[in-house]
Assembly symmetry: C2
Homo-oligomer: 239 residues x 2
DNA sequence: TTTTGAAGAGAAATCGATTTTGTTGTGGAA
DNA sequence: TTCCACAACAAAATCGATTTCTCTTCAAAA
């Protein structure tokens, strides 16, 4: 019997989860080709299994699938960055609002706990190069998930998570420097988000999350615009 | 060489489009099993091709994929009907608003033309049984697409279209009778939607489309609640 | 020197067969 | 009569090989 990731009841799912995690972790540069054969060899499974996993990733939008041309990671595109941001503001805003309107003690506890963990996790893994730590990224994602966790709409939550993942991927690619922002106080923004949730001020919360997303995006878009060379180099790499 | 649907550059895509159209057309009852082998035989392609197509449909949410249990069409679930409606109101509302705010003459022309076609298409194909005609369904879908066609966000439009397809599928399953509504004037609602678009009243438009979706859903939900036997029978069929 | 075309190498898409897993029906024991 | 175990069957998941397409290279002609 071949080993599988826990929880995945089929090889496809295991490979799907693996590749997805690798893409999100930034292992593959934007636009780089994903060779089914290479992945099949590496994971010790057959091609069909990899194809199925890649097909699912393509449907999620994390991978491009061109017939006869194979699969590749999505590339860093300014238009798309802005588009995702727009859609995120709509969806995550609605989900956050809905969550607060259906909040209970459990929800408040989850938000408070996730915020505490986020605050206590060091943001930099390397103070010199300003590299965002893996732990902080995880804590950050979990905090935002917690904010939506009381939403009554599974589909809304699912959409929000998926879009946030893609946005996070873009952030990684644009370099960790992008998080370096003089005129911005991220901990304060998170604090405000938590407070709005605990105070059950759903309209304020919706506005805050929109601003939060907007700021991050504009900074990222600014980076892409001011560093065309680096971005082109990223997109150009085809290992 | 094997024949392919026009535009599909691979067998998978052709099969994907075929099966998707069949599901949307109501060929398969809700919850019914989709046998890869049967489809493969019918379309004269290999199993892997069908599997890939079904995998994509599953990722889109039109099909359930359970490891070791195969694929099946989604079943008619009241919770999900309501959830889809909620999400649609958010997304289609945002897309409609965005479209109006970026409207131009081309857009207005498209909306007007689609509305005209909708008005001129007979709603019933069979006056006795109140069966909604295929032509009207198509015209209706095209009208709603036209309303969003000026939106600047491709992702928003894509999401809206996908959710609308699923909602339309649920409507078909719930029986054509569900469209039969004494206290409702559908042509007037469509007229109002068009007018709001032409007058560029984006806030009003967002509210109107929300109401439009809500009314349809509540009627559908009402049908499911008052006809549990028929719904169970639909979901029970496993050909 | 540049451009065009053909051949070959490499990769993707597809196929049929094999392995694995889930289901159903039967028989025996409680 | 009901429950559990076992076996036969059916279906899905996986695999290795084949076919088809794309990209690159090299040579000949302009």
């Amino acid at each position: 019997m071949r080993e599988q990731a826990a929880g995945a009841r089929s090889l496809s799912r295991a490979v799907f989860a693996d590749v997805r995690a690798e893409i999100l972790a930034g292992v593959y540069p934007p636009g780089s080709k994903l060779s089914p054969r290479a992945i099949a060899t590496k994971s010790d499974v057959s091609l069909s299994v990899v194809r199925e996993a890649l097909t699912r990733l393509a449907e999620q939008g994390l991978v491009n699938a061109a017939p006869q041309l194979g699969f590749s990671v999505v590339s860093l595109d300014l238009e798309d960055v802005r588009d995702i941001s727009k859609v995120r503001i709509v969806i995550e805003g609605a989900a956050f609002k809905d969550a607060i309107e259906h909040a209970d003690i459990e929800y408040e506890t989850r938000v408070l706990a996730a915020h505490h963990r986020l605050v206590r996790t060091p943001i930099w893994s390397d103070e010199e190069t300003h590299t965002v730590s893996e732990e902080w990224s995880t804590a950050h994602a979990q905090f935002h998930s917690a904010l939506l966790s009381a939403s009554t709409s599974p589909r809304l939550r699912e959409l929000a998570e998926g879009l946030r993942d893609t946005a996070e991927l873009y952030r990684r690619w644009s370099g960790t420097l992008a998080v370096d922002q003089p005129e911005r106080d991220i901990p304060a923004e998170h604090e405000a988000l938590m407070q709005a949730a605990l105070d059950r001020r759903s309209d304020l919360a919706e506005k805050l999350i929109g601003d939060h997303i907007n700021k991050t995006t504009e900074l990222l878009a600014g980076y892409v615009e001011t560093h065309p060379v680096e971005v082109a180099a990223l997109n150009g790499v085809q290992p």
